[in-house]
Symmetry: C2
Subunit: 493 residues, 2 copies
């Protein structure tokens, strides 16, 4: 077999094994009996170790070098496969085995301590673990290597090529306009509240209805319940999502649109990339752009609800029969500076992310100490959002990410929001009648464009190159700020 | 690490990996999207190959030899672990890799062709594949080795130590009395039929209720729907069952009791055997004894329904409110010679198995030709059961086993039926008030005895030795025949 064919085979094998691991995680969230946690952890560790051995095998290093030597003869997609596999090989081999084991042990402990700390709203319970995680993450950055700032190495783990300088510039463009918009729009739209609970079966049915309307293909995926909604891939023809249902919340709608957006991206990847490392969204930021596109840009817009609000009223007459469409759309867009990132509206959301970015950058470069985090957190929430943080649980302990040892992840949320608005501008140029398209519920027109422009390519193009292909420009805050300004000015009238 | 500790670690790793494979199969039956079959097949093949490599590794052979050299110092359980792992190592290493690959390719094809043949009720579609499978199975017997009869090697795959001579003797004791009983009891009890469908949700709820009553632990297992009910183990604390629900059938009850019986066996295995090759039922025959014990011996008896029939009436008043308990119990035991094994009553069931045993033995020793099977099938069904086989679909094509290349499996069904009756005799000696125990619904008394006597030991004792420990005697047809005679004489009155 020629080196390229061997590399493809190696890729297919690793992809299969990662899907086996993903199935374990899916099942753990969706179906696993309560007491089976230790069994599953052991299975996961055993299989992960086997997979890791295949991922760092000198055989793979040799194959990569052989294929790189013939790079001139490769197609765009073959080059991309080489790029993605080389990147993964470097990430896996640059970290010594003992380091990986220690990191993994520490994050298991940290997750338990973080849960405990959050339950008791006491940061000091989590603090020693977080200190060790920060130390290890700084070490990780050294192992991985970086050109300018150690945080660059961590950002790159989630968004290939992203640098601290880029993120700093991005938030530099965003911060002042967002703070101004919060002042201007906060409290001007009335949030919705319900006296009558939504039936759980009814919520699930409506979520499914929206997913079908978006074009989620149930013959190549499924929808289940879990405590925290997520999307996962278990095979080229097996992209699954979960959602959650609470009696008095509209999360079932926006959860479905959000996860549906992720899943459409995955389902839209071209068949010819199946069973390779390219059969995946290219980065967390681009992935988030797709979920936010459907959840916010489409799913919190008036045109979309012109089509679906009558159906929502029909499904839940007790809650919606007396409510008007305008009132509903204003309600689901209410701007309210708050404490919790995951509950934030579109205007305040990125300020939550900015706070985390500033803290992470400080921790990794050593200018911020873990012990000072609760104070820094309170201060920044006061400065940027004008809210007082009453407890660690509602403050510095709210997110799970750091207990996973994930530093550098948060900025991808803002990249997603910005990219979604930028992609939306491009879509509007393609379809000037977009308002009517959405009001007609012709979502397949939107989805087909996304498949052609973004989804179909999988991981072939780097995030930045992909955005330039689709929108004509690299990532910028301007489309997002313009989108917010226009949307909220119109809503408030 | 000492050799024994290393062997334990090796065992734990293999057990983890087999549970990962079992999860793939579970998910495939229960949740996988319709179009994901090829993805899953590829994942299964990739992981199976990795696992197989670990199972035939010379490292494992060396470890086994080292531990065997110190066998004098081992405990009963350590010896058993060695026995089970040695047996599995021999089964895996005696078959050449090309043979395993060919067998696996052939069975994939055979399953598709068998389905097609059954749909069209045309044996000739399946015949060429079956001929090759028989040839390969004869070769398999040679690779595995045997003392007397080639079929011994195949029987041993499913029931450690079982021989053709033993099975011949077993059916020798059974055949004439069963044929006589069929004549005596057939048509004397009126089967139940329903005009009103059972609601699916109601069936599932009642099945769950029965499982809870039996003592199935839902914190260490779960119940799902699938096309064909089965039980599987995904971890020491993760034993799962599936059931199926049709609008006008009582299968939901007997499926739950049957799979529940398998699952109780697995859930009852002692914690100290967790994460080793001993954390499993010892053989298919003993496993089937547990499912048949609950499905038939307990679950088709009058005392059990004294407790549960009023609840069944309450759950499904339209079907049962006008029916008496006696009429119900007679109905669920109606003896009717029929064409289909899986629909057979307790009296005729083992004659179906006998027919398959005689055919398999003939195929493997070469005295029966595949081309003659439809005719032989018709002849034997006429002779033993007095029924005319109208089509291949309702005859020689009804079972999936041969398309899997499973020869030697069927006799374990009869072993299960016989062992269940023999174990029941032992239980009655332990609990002379057994009728009242069941009528009170005190199923935990029964289950606890089974756990102590059978379940707790996992695979520590060989099937025959286990039966002798529990019942004082090796497997015999007499308790089963006595059980049938007494039960049906009483029911018919």
């Amino acid at each position: 077999m020629k080196p390229l064919a061997q590399l493809r085979k190696y890729s297919a094998e690793l992809v299969d094994l990662h899907h086996a691991l993903a199935l374990m995680q899916w099942d753990q969230e969706v179906r696993m009996p309560r007491l089976a946690g230790e069994d599953r952890a052991s299975q996961f560790a055993t299989l992960s170790a086997l997979v890791h051995r295949r991922e760092v095998a000198p055989e793979l290093g040799g194959l990569l070098a052989e294929v790189e030597a013939q790079k001139g003869n490769l197609s765009v997609e073959e080059c991309a496969l080489l790029r993605v596999m080389r990147r993964s090989y470097e990430q896996n081999t640059r970290l010594p085995e003992e380091f990986v084991a220690e990191f993994s042990r520490l994050t298991s402990q940290a997750q338990m301590r973080w849960l405990e700390a959050r339950e008791q709203s006491d940061f000091t319970i989590f603090q020693p673990l977080l200190e060790r995680l920060v130390a290890l993450s700084r070490q990780q950055a050294e192992y991985l290597g970086y050109a300018v700032h150690p945080y660059d190495a961590l950002l790159d783990l989630y968004e290939e090529g992203l640098t601290t300088a880029q993120v700093t510039r991005m938030f530099g463009e965003l911060q002042a306009p967002l703070v101004a918009m919060v002042k201007k729009f906060a409290g001007r739209l009335t949030p919705l509240s319900f006296n009558e609970p939504f039936s759980l079966a009814g919520q699930e049915q409506f979520a499914e209805h929206l997913l079908v309307a978006m074009g989620f293909d149930f013959s190549r995926g499924c929808l289940a319940r879990s405590a925290h909604p997520f999307t996962t891939t278990l095979g080229h023809h097996d992209r699954r999502i979960t959602n959650r249902y609470a009696p008095e919340s509209l999360d079932f709608i926006f959860g479905a649109l959000h996860e549906g957006g992720h899943a459409l991206y995955e389902q839209g990847i071209d068949e010819r990339l199946a069973h390779t490392h390219l059969d995946d969204g290219v980065s967390l930021g681009i992935h988030e752009s797709q979920s936010r596109f459907w959840e916010n840009v489409v799913g919190r817009g008036n045109p979309f609800w012109q089509r679906f609000f009558p159906e929502l009223q029909q499904a839940f007459p007790a809650q919606f029969s007396l409510l008007g469409l305008t009132e509903f759309v204003r309600g689901i867009n209410a701007v309210t500076p708050g404490l919790i990132r995951v509950d934030a509206d579109e205007v305040t959301y990125n300020l939550h992310v900015l706070i985390r970015f500033e803290i992470e950058k400080g921790l990794i470069e050593g200018s911020v100490q873990v012990a000072d985090l609760p104070g820094i957190w309170r201060e920044k929430y006061r400065d940027y959002l004008g809210v007082e943080v009453p407890s660690d649980a509602e403050g510095v302990l709210q997110d799970i990410h750091w207990s996973h040892g994930s530093f550098g992840y948060f900025p991808t949320y803002t990249i997603g929001n910005l990219a979604a608005a930028q992609i939306w501008e491009a879509y509007k140029q393609y379809d000037p009648g977009f308002q009517q398209t959405l009001a007609d519920g012709n979502l397949s027109k939107v989805r087909e464009w996304l498949v052609r422009e973004i989804h179909g390519h999988g991981s072939v193009y780097l995030p930045e190159a992909l955005l330039v292909r689709v929108t004509g420009a690299p990532l910028s805050a301007q489309p997002f700020l313009a989108y917010l300004e226009e949307k909220f000015s119109t809503l408030i009238g």
